[in-house]
């Protein structure tokens, strides 16, 4: 790859990929220095959808910031909700009832599957295959219906509360979860037959888009990008939170470092999420869903707090500094796609344009979460 970059002639041109481009899925702009179809240099340019969520967090009360979290990564909003409520619960020492924890896990994993399904469709769309997108949306629709029935919204959820969840789930929801898992189990082989085993797709993904463990460490890439590079790291397993340690699930790790490895990690993760949902639905205890002694006004004691969760894209961390008042003194959000994107600049060097776009698709970027 470096050999190609070195032999590049001086006749290069700059191609602005974005901010409006079908493959960037949002308002990401990548400044590409191209030599013919080869990429000499790739520089992601950010900030087109920056909304100052961190500053907003410092300007409002702890509770008022909660809806903001669902609007960063709109594809896995519940994990962002979850991280923030976990952080505040840790800071203000609020105990969460067991049933609420189970509900959190179930809804979170459903949301993770819906995020991965959308990524799957959009990724294959990037590669020029249109039909799998609509099959994936068909399945995703079932999840959105389920989540709508308990949370009231379909995309930017704000369902978790400090000390529990907003409302209890009913038997219909639990039955719906079981039915959904059975349905998706049945359809997964179809996805693999139609897409994963397709020779064109395999040729486009295998050994292309090289991101190795060293690069992941250098840029702080997490999630499926790191697991596709052979790094066995999942926040749910290695810094456990909620009731995740009670469930039996595997962390899919592929040592391939290529786009195919990242693809396979996500496909396997959907299956693991289904396992978690099954176990959680089977073992969900009765009881309240809100802590009895949750304070109305949150004033965490002075201190520096950090909490991280595993979202569909990687490790999302919030660091909040409390000065003991009802607004945070400092709010710092560490979002996974930001770190994952930075690897693109290095990995795309010397690649052909279509391969670079396949690589970008395999990073599963959500732009509002990068800019936040």
């Amino acid at each position: 790859m470096t050999a190609i970059a070195q032999s590049a002639s001086s006749e290069t041109f700059v191609l602005n990929l974005g901010p409006q481009h079908p493959a960037t899925h949002g308002v990401l702009r990548v400044k590409l220095v191209m030599d013919g179809e080869y990429i000499v240099e790739a520089e992601p340019v950010l900030g087109y959808i920056h909304r100052m969520h961190e500053k907003m967090g410092e300007n409002r009360t702890w509770a008022q910031f909660l809806p903001n979290t669902g609007r960063m990564d709109y594809l896995h909003a519940l994990a962002y909700n979850h991280n923030y409520v976990c952080l505040v619960e840790r800071a203000a020492s609020i105990e969460v009832p067991e049933r609420a924890e189970y509900i959190r896990v179930i809804t979170n994993e459903l949301n993770r599957i819906s995020s991965h399904l959308l990524w799957f469709g959009a990724f294959v769309l990037d590669l020029g295959g249109f039909s799998p997108l609509l099959y994936a949306f068909d399945d995703r629709e079932q999840i959105l219906d389920l989540l709508e029935s308990v949370t009231g919204s379909r995309l930017t959820y704000c369902y978790f509360r400090f000390g529990g969840v907003y409302n209890d789930v009913d038997q219909d929801f639990l039955d719906g979860c079981k039915a959904f898992v059975a349905r998706l189990r049945e359809r997964m082989p179809m996805y693999h037959n139609l897409v994963t085993k397709n020779i064109i797709l395999m040729k486009r993904l295998q050994d292309i888009g090289f991101i190795d463990a060293e690069m992941c460490r250098k840029y702080g890439a997490t999630g499926p990008v790191a697991r596709g590079a052979g790094i066995d790291f999942d926040v749910r397993r290695h810094e456990p939170y909620s009731v995740y340690p009670r469930f039996d699930f595997d962390i899919p790790v592929y040592p391939g470092c290529d786009s195919m490895a990242r693809y396979m990690v996500r496909m396997d993760e959907m299956e693991q999420s289904m396992r978690i949902i099954e176990q959680a639905v089977g073992a969900i205890p009765e009881g309240p869903v809100m802590a009895a002694k949750a304070p109305k006004i949150i004033k965490p004691p002075k201190g520096d707090y950090y909490h991280a969760v595993e979202t569909a894209r990687g490790s999302f961390g919030i660091r909040a500094v409390s000065d003991g008042t009802n607004t945070p003194y400092r709010m710092k959000l560490r979002t996974p796609s930001f770190s994952n994107l930075v690897t693109f600049g290095e990995a795309a060097k010397g690649m052909l344009l279509p391969d670079a776009l396949a690589l970008m698709g395999s990073l599963d970027l959500v732009i509002p979460e990068i800019d936040r």
Partner: protein
């Protein structure tokens, strides 16, 4: 009197072909959208007219009423010339295609040659249009179009040469009459000429997909990579003409497949030959073309060239040599 009837004949065929091409272009879009809808578990167009049958009319009106914008800095002559150069050769191809024993505008003795000569001009149209629109995506696409077409014309023409050797003529009418009878007489199953005939058909079909820039070889359009490739800057009918040209080329390509391999207007069982059999075979092939587009992801440029130079050309050559050897021996 003879001049009059000749003129009338000319007029009839010109009007007939233009109507056939326009209807095909419009309703193949409809078919494509309906078929895509069916494959993707949705309905497809249904609002305009029964079963959305008036959708192409609405689309056409929309395209025609749009302003023709020529981008600043573009070469306006080449920009206008591009769509014309794609559309005209496609229309010209129809001149020698025999649709049945009697329906053919001009039964040329070099019909086969004429068609592939005209068909190769369409590359020039795409190249000039893309170059003239002065857009970086379009220029990348232009470069792709040229090398793609060069790479794919070679195996295609080798297959055509094989077919000329087998049938002994370049006259399309005679090509079909040499396959008279049931389906075992068709060139695709003519194992006495070469056991690789079905493979030759496959090579032709793949090359045709690549020539007409259809998925999975739609590198020139590649909407997720190059926005719209060569057509990025084209507004309204400029784009519309490109689009019609693409569908006309598909019709030509599948017609040629029907004539060369599937026995033209012959019935598979030797009964009632005629136009309807030609159309059935042609539309079955078009249906397959659309089916492929909505099933497969796009290949990349180098794997496409690899396929052409490492697989298709050697196999086509092997078929050529085998066929000529068998013809010599038998």
């Amino acid at each position: 009197m003879t001049i009059d009837s000749e003129l009338l004949r000319l007029l009839l065929y010109v009007v007939g072909f233009i109507a056939f091409i326009a209807t095909n272009a419009a309703y193949l879009v409809w078919l494509e959208r309906k078929e895509a809808g069916h494959i993707q578990c949705r309905i497809g167009p249904k609002e305009v007219g029964p079963f959305g049958l008036l959708q192409p009319v609405a689309d056409g009106l929309k395209l025609m009423t749009k302003q023709l914008i020529i981008p600043k800095g573009a070469d306006s002559f080449l920009f206008r010339l591009g769509p014309v150069l794609v559309m005209t050769p496609a229309v010209m191809c129809f001149v020698t295609i025999p649709y049945s024993d009697t329906i053919v505008a001009r039964n040329l003795d070099v019909g086969l040659l004429a068609i592939f000569a005209f068909a190769s001009v369409n590359v020039l149209g795409l190249l000039l249009g893309a170059w003239g629109s002065r857009n970086k995506y379009a220029v990348i696409s232009a470069a792709r179009v040229v090398s793609q077409n060069v790479a794919y014309e070679i195996p295609m023409l080798i297959v055509i040469v094989t077919m000329v050797m087998v049938t002994g003529t370049m006259n399309l009418h005679e090509v079909v009459t040499s396959q008279n009878g049931g389906f075992w007489h068709w060139n695709i199953f003519r194992f006495s000429a070469s056991p690789l005939m079905p493979v030759a058909f496959l090579i032709y079909f793949v090359c045709m997909l690549a020539e007409t820039n259809r998925a999975p070889f739609d590198m020139a359009e590649a909407e997720s990579e190059l926005v719209a490739g060569a057509f990025t800057e084209y507004p309204g009918m400029g784009f519309g003409v490109f689009f019609m040209g693409e569908y006309a080329n598909i019709v030509v390509g599948t017609s040629m497949a029907t004539i060369l391999f599937l026995g033209g207007w012959n019935c598979p069982f030797g009964l009632w030959p005629g136009l309807h059999w030609f159309l059935i075979k042609m539309y079955a092939l078009i249906f397959t073309v659309i089916w492929i587009r909505w099933t497969f992801p796009r290949t990349t440029f180098y794997s496409l060239l690899n396929l052409s130079w490492k697989v298709l050309i050697p196999v086509a050559f092997a078929n050529l040599i085998l066929t000529s050897a068998l013809l010599k021996v038998l």
